[in-house]
Amino acid sequence: MNIKSEKEEYLEKLWTMMEDKEDSLQILSANMNRNDHEKIIQELQMDDLVQTEGNSIKLSSTGEKKARKIIRAHRLAEKLIFDALGGDYEKGACEFEHMVNTELIDSICILLGHPQECPHGRKIPQGDCCKNAVKTVECAVMPMTDMEIDQSFRVAYINGQKDNVRLNKISTLQIRPGSLVKMEQKYPSIVIQCEGADIALDDNIAADIYVWKEANNIRESGGEQSKHDKKSRFEFMRINRGR
């Protein structure tokens, strides 16, 4: 790993420490466990990315800006790899954020429908695209509330990973990434069909469930996808899922 990536790893760690309200130098060094710990801290100080004071260390405003970008890339990458591609997120994402530029990250963000949390449930920093709520025609992922009646989409991801009670309730009904849902009714309450069961739910839950748009989404009747369709477009989501 080169020194640039090493420094970025430190910035990432400092950001998560900031989120957890931690600023102890020991915790940082214990967590990173690097031989050249001192050197990297020095480099960071020279670049004016961190501020140290006695035993505490925290990001400077420039450091924060930079860390924010990296974190955003990291968490969006996790989101992409884990939710969209069905892979193991920790392996890929560490490398990923050091390689891509802002434009690419923004387009991933738009593709994923501006997710708010990474798969661990930590907050993804907002980019300009989220603030402007960019919606392109190609936007492949959208909240369930935007579905039209009778459309069948596949669940991409669910926001609110921290609320275990709620998440568990949702997933016991088999509403989880990859399952097919069909919008039955939107008013007075949303009713969806998911894996053979009709489920009524509140708008605010539906707004946290994001779905993939499918090409031939309007179906005559019945919510279940036939075998043929399943293979064609969404096969990529099921990589690593077979035996």
Partner: protein
């Protein structure tokens, strides 16, 4: 907690313990009825069974103890009621589990099956409602399923009893399979560590360890509560081990575990399910949609209420009159011929006679009305209409402080208030539970009350019915709004509710259910009717009734504008609502009540003291003190409201 229906069984051979487990509304109770030959209420609705039921029976000569459990989605639990089924599996350790699988919800069922397979208890899978699945164009390959799961799989249609014999044979032959689902090296290592630390005689250690890793809120309680060799275990030490495993694992451990599981479910599903390309049009779905949309749903709701009104008023009254003329009048004349007028004549057929107020009231006045009403109600229940109403009423109920979860108990209150009160256990928010219990006890009439109310008001015309029910609805809303304001705000529970599918009911099932409901009504209520008439008779003869009438007359006559005889009805009401209603019908026939008085009487009795079972359920959920306080509050407000109603009706009409 457990209801035992004892039947003879040989004491020398230990009975095979069989547990029926499955998703909510998957037909467990119907299967239970088929296997045991008993009858318990089955309905096309969730939460029909809320208590474990045990029955002893003989299967091919071998004694069996079969337990029916409330439906669960998985063994990981969030609520107390779900934990009860798990506690049964963990501590009673059945010899055989029958997994009742809803063929329409294969993935959900497979998820639960995986949980059960991990327990290592012999399992038999009953693929229920296989006929519906076929009609939907889905074919299940049971042979492949058997190969994958390595447990016997039987197709069955519980409603018609198909597949019961195969299941019985399988129970006797069931054998355990070694089944270990692998979660990957890191998690397995942690699991092994935790398993070592658990008490040695704790059953199903591996599953307990997995639940610990998933942060199940009830599992540590389970370990410590039971006296499993607990001297040398330290729950904190175990908890530390769990936390360290969770931290060693980069990322969200529960999510990874759940993902591995759903991968397995997906794999099995892909193998066993063959889907036809063209899915047939389902009329049931269209009907369900119409019922849930406001534009069509509200007219449908009113139409059904009107239909019930017509049936109860016209059909039931005709039956009641026929019975009165052809049964009661002859009996009366025979008794009058045998027993001369006086004390004994009064005791038998006087105003408070054991036959007239007890038996005739139950059989001739109340029973015809309940039969007709239950027939319609049971049909609606088997269609699955009632739970689907919660979609229609959801937003409206939100306004009176009931968000989401509590909608279902409230809707269930129209069936049986006691059951509905017990289901509020599943509500996360204390505040909502309180509001729900109050509203259920207050102005919601239960099925029997509803039938009788319609019959009473129907005698006065449709207008009376509309006024009385609008008042009740208004009162309920007002109470909801007030409680919403008074009680401190809390986080709202979420509304995420599975709905039963709309089904065409079978005539036989509806008739059988109506028959049993009426039998149960008579078993439960007839003694109460008779005791109550005896008590009234004694009160009357000792003059106490007169005294209490005098004492209460300012309230009853002055404030409520009701004839003084209503005191009798109120006393009967305290014993059993149906008895009071029966007496009110008698008053109407005698011309004692006019329309305004009928409306006041019905609103009063509907709100007045909830039945004894309901109060007991309230005590169970809220504690004695609060339950009594709530009942008193309900009674006080019911008098106030009925009085106000009386005066405003006098002014208006």
């Amino acid at each position: 907690m457990e209801q035992k229906s004892q039947q003879a069984h040989k004491p020398d051979i230990p009975p095979i313990k069989v547990g029926i487990v499955g998703l909510p509304n998957s037909g467990k109770t119907q299967l239970f009825n088929n296997l045991t030959g008993t009858y318990n209420v089955v309905a096309n609705a969730l939460l029909t069974t809320i208590e474990h039921k045990v029955a002893n029976c003989e299967i091919n000569g071998h004694p069996c103890e079969i337990t029916d459990t409330p439906g669960i989605y998985e063994l990981y639990t969030q609520s107390f009621e779900e934990a009860s089924t798990r506690d049964y599996l963990f501590s009673k350790k059945p010899d055989v589990i029958i997994m009742c699988m809803d063929s329409n919800r294969i993935k959900q069922s497979l998820n639960l099956t995986l949980d059960l397979l991990e327990l290592g208890i012999p399992i038999i899978i009953a693929l229920n409602a296989i006929d519906e699945t076929c009609r939907r164009g889905i074919v299940l390959d049971t042979r492949k399923m058997f190969r994958f799961l390595r447990v016997p799989v039987f197709e069955c249609i519980a409603l018609s009893g198909l597949g019961t014999d195969e299941l019985k044979d399988a129970i006797l032959q069931a054998r355990g399979v070694k089944w270990e689902f692998q979660y990957g090296p890191l998690i397995e290592k942690g699991l092994a560590q935790i398993v070592q630390m658990l008490p040695t005689d704790l059953p199903l250690k591996r599953k307990v360890a997995i639940l610990l890793l998933l942060n199940d809120p009830y599992i540590s309680e389970f370990i410590t509560k039971k006296k499993y060799d607990s001297d040398n275990i330290d729950i904190h030490q175990i908890q530390d081990c769990v936390t360290s495993t969770q931290q060693n694992f980069q990322g969200n451990l529960s999510r990874v575990i759940n993902n591995r599981r759903s991968q397995w479910v997906d794999d099995v599903y892909d193998e066993i399910v063959l889907q036809h390309k063209i899915t047939p049009h389902e009329y049931e779905k269209t009907i369900a949609r119409w019922c849930r949309k406001p534009l069509s749903g509200i007219p449908i709701l009113f139409f059904i209420v009107y239909l019930v009104y017509l049936a109860v008023v016209n059909v039931a009254n005709v039956i009641a009159e026929w019975m009165d003329v052809h049964l009661w009048v002859p009996i009366q004349s025979v008794i009058n011929g045998w027993v001369p007028a006086g004390f004994f004549n009064d005791f038998l057929i006087g105003d408070y006679g054991i036959l007239s107020l007890g038996l005739a009231n139950a059989f001739i006045t109340v029973l015809p009305i309940l039969s007709v009403f239950f027939l319609i109600y049971n049909t609606l229940e088997d269609i699955g209409y009632i739970p689907n109403l919660c979609v229609l009423t959801r937003r409206f109920l939100d306004k009176i402080g009931l968000s989401g979860e509590s909608v279902m108990p409230l809707v269930l209150g129209f069936g049986c208030k006691t059951m509905a009160t017990l289901t509020t256990k599943s509500l996360q928010s204390k505040r909502e539970r309180y509001i729900a219990i109050y509203l259920i006890a207050f102005a919601i009439p239960c099925a029997a009350q509803m039938g009788l109310n319609i019959s009473i008001l129907g005698r006065m015309g449709l207008l009376a019915l509309v006024i009385a029910f609008s008042v009740l609805i208004g009162v309920e809303i007002l109470a909801g709004l007030l409680l919403n304001l008074i009680l401190p705000q809390e986080d709202k529970g979420i509304f995420l509710q599975e709905l039963p599918p709309i089904r065409f009911p079978t005539v036989k099932a509806v008739l059988v259910k109506t028959w049993y409901r009426l039998i149960w009504f008579l078993e439960e209520a007839l003694p109460v009717f008779i005791y109550a008439s005896v008590i009234l008779f004694v009160l009357d003869k000792t003059g106490l009734l007169m005294a209490s009438r005098l004492f209460l007359s300012p309230v009853i006559e002055g404030f409520l504008g009701l004839p003084i005889e209503m005191v009798d009805a109120l006393i009967l009401c305290m014993a059993r609502h149906e008895a009071g209603a029966g007496l009110i019908i008698k008053f109407i026939n005698e011309g004692l009540l006019n329309m305004t008085q009928c409306i006041v009487a019905v609103t009063l009795t509907t709100m007045f003291i909830p039945c004894f079972a309901n109060i007991m359920a309230m005590v169970k959920e809220l504690g004695t003190y609060r339950a009594i306080a709530m009942s008193l509050m309900i009674n006080a407000s019911s008098f106030l409201i009925a009085g106000t109603l009386n005066w405003s009706l006098i002014l208006l009409l």
